[in-house]
């Protein structure tokens, strides 16, 4: 696949109360963002088990995005704080295991931030295009 027409596969886990609603707002506001993102709705960013992130990564996804409420705004009080620590741990593990941790993003996007959601998707797709396809896409040995 030449880099010119590389279209990244990105999986997005969005929290029901904030980012998913933010994505909905982006849609109803007719904001444009690239169609490379496949959205999976979770009840909370704290409900995103790191294995949800690892499975697609190991199977060759080019990026994984986690969206949650801003710190202090979690519908379940503290889910996003826990998600943040898990994310930090996962980043360290990915980095020290020789995988590119920059393929996993975490963003706080509220229900009213449709603009921020669309901008984040644009930003991530551009960044991943810059990085090129995940080497695990073609790696049979994982």
């Amino acid at each position: 696949m030449s880099d010119n027409n590389f279209e990244p596969h990105i999986l997005a886990f969005l929290c029901n109360w904030c980012t998913y609603t933010g994505a909905d707002l982006a849609g109803t506001s007719r904001l444009q963002y690239p169609p490379n993102v496949r959205v999976i709705r979770t009840m909370c960013s704290g409900a995103v088990d790191p294995v949800f992130v690892l499975k697609p990564l190991m199977d060759g996804a080019d990026g994984v995005f986690i969206g949650g409420c801003h710190p202090g705004d979690c519908h379940y009080q503290t889910g996003n704080y826990k998600a943040r620590r898990r994310y930090v741990a996962l980043q360290e593990i990915l980095k020290s295991a020789g995988f590119d941790e920059r393929r996993v993003w975490l963003r706080w996007i509220s229900a009213s931030e449709g603009n921020k959601f669309a901008a984040s998707m644009n930003e991530m797709v551009a960044a991943i295009k810059e990085m090129g396809p995940s080497p695990l896409r073609q790696d049979w040995s994982v």
Binding site: M58, G72, R84, A89, A97, G98, F99, W140
Partner: protein
């Protein structure tokens, strides 16, 4: 307080058995978790209630069939049913501390008996040497006294022991010293006052031998240097092309590393369920996409998930390396990655019982850049 276990005729093991027997007979403990000698000269861990069986007790033979923290977890659960004494190595105590934090074991009602650990050998190596009469406890203890157990008749220590920089047990109620201790002066013991009183042990002040600290300091410094060197070399391999998947290329997915890991406590591992059983078409599609697909599938996912579950609590006991039939340096990989993750949270596993596990707590104002940058 400090006291001493007198050793007669250089029979360290006999002296130690007598001390353990005293603990059980006096009622200081109702049962004792300790290794017992078995026919082939090796040991098997057991929970002992009959003092007579302590004539077979053998916490000194330098092999480690299991990480005893797993056993103490089974023996205590939410709370030990009786006053238990448990004889453990330093890395077993560290793993136990993590299991307590994970709510898989309890220290209330448990008397922690820790011995200095000069290092252990691979079971198969030790069996071999036993057969030819080359492995000898007295010789081992003489080396241990000087902190020189790195090789016994060319038999190397287990890899994890070669780079263990924490050979002195922490959190003990009874600490029995081996470093710097000569059989002629008996075994130095640091013991909880109350227990010492109930056993009517004599106070022997300044019991730790003069040379001990020097031996411990040198041993720790040497091992730490080895550890740093080995971890750095492993990090280089991990950063190299292929990284983790290159290292685990020969993994046969026996799950031994998970089975023997003291931290992996789940009753049913996710990877023993049908979660990752795919339809036959899935494998064909994957193979068509990449040209080939590895079987069994999800091998790297298994190791990455295990890292995610246990790397913060990894105490570098190395049971995984010893158990790996494919000779993969699993423990070194996990120690190298674990050390990075632990550093990120400024967390030292097995160290402070009151310190909360990093992933079950949080501070509102930390990593404030996360969630805004990428």
């Amino acid at each position: 307080m400090n006291t001493v276990i007198p050793v007669e005729n250089g029979e360290t093991l006999v002296a130690l058995r007598g001390f353990l027997r005293q603990l059980l007979e006096s009622g200081a403990v109702e049962a004792l978790y300790v290794s017992l000698g078995v026919d082939n000269g090796l040991v098997a861990p057991a929970l002992v209630t009959d003092p007579a069986l302590l004539d077979q007790a053998d916490p000194l033979t330098p092999v480690m069939p299991i990480n005893g923290a797993r056993a103490v977890s089974a023996l205590t659960g939410k709370r030990a049913p009786a006053r238990l004494g448990v004889v453990l190595r330093p890395c077993e105590i560290r793993a136990l501390v993590e299991l307590v934090k994970l709510q898989q074991a309890d220290l209330e009602n448990v008397l922690l008996i820790g011995l200095d650990c000069p290092g252990t050998y691979e079971l198969t190596d030790y069996v071999e040497r036993q057969k030819t009469g080359q492995a000898n406890l007295r010789e081992y203890l003489a080396l241990a006294r000087e902190g020189n157990t790195d090789s016994l008749h060319d038999m190397p220590l287990r890899h994890a022991c070669q780079m263990c920089d924490q050979p002195v047990p922490e959190h003990t109620d009874i600490h029995i010293g081996l470093f710097g201790a000569g059989a002629e002066n008996g075994l130095p013991v640091e013991i909880d006052d109350e227990i010492a009183e109930s056993l009517q042990l004599p106070v022997v002040p300044g019991v730790l031998p003069d040379g001990r600290q020097t031996v411990v300091d040198r041993l720790v410094a040497d091992r730490r240097q080895t550890r740093e060197k080995e971890l750095a070399a492993m990090r280089e391999r991990l950063d190299a092309n292929g990284g983790l998947s290159g290292l685990f290329a020969t993994c046969i997915r026996c799950h031994n590393c998970m089975t023997v890991c003291p931290i992996c406590y789940c009753k049913t591992c996710l990877f023993k369920t049908a979660s990752f059983d795919h339809q036959p078409e899935h494998y064909l599609t994957a193979a068509k996409r990449k040209g080939a697909t590895r079987l069994l599938g999800d091998t790297m996912l298994f190791h990455m998930t295990r890292l995610n579950h246990m790397s913060l609590s990894c105490v570098s006991c190395g049971m995984c390396t010893s158990a790996c039939p494919a000779d993969i340096p699993v423990g070194l990989v996990f120690s190298a990655i674990g050390a990075q993750v632990q550093a990120a949270f400024d967390y030292r596993p097995g160290w402070e019982i009151s310190e909360t596990l990093p992933l079950i707590t949080f501070q509102p104002n930390e990593w404030t850049e996360v969630g805004e940058t990428r």
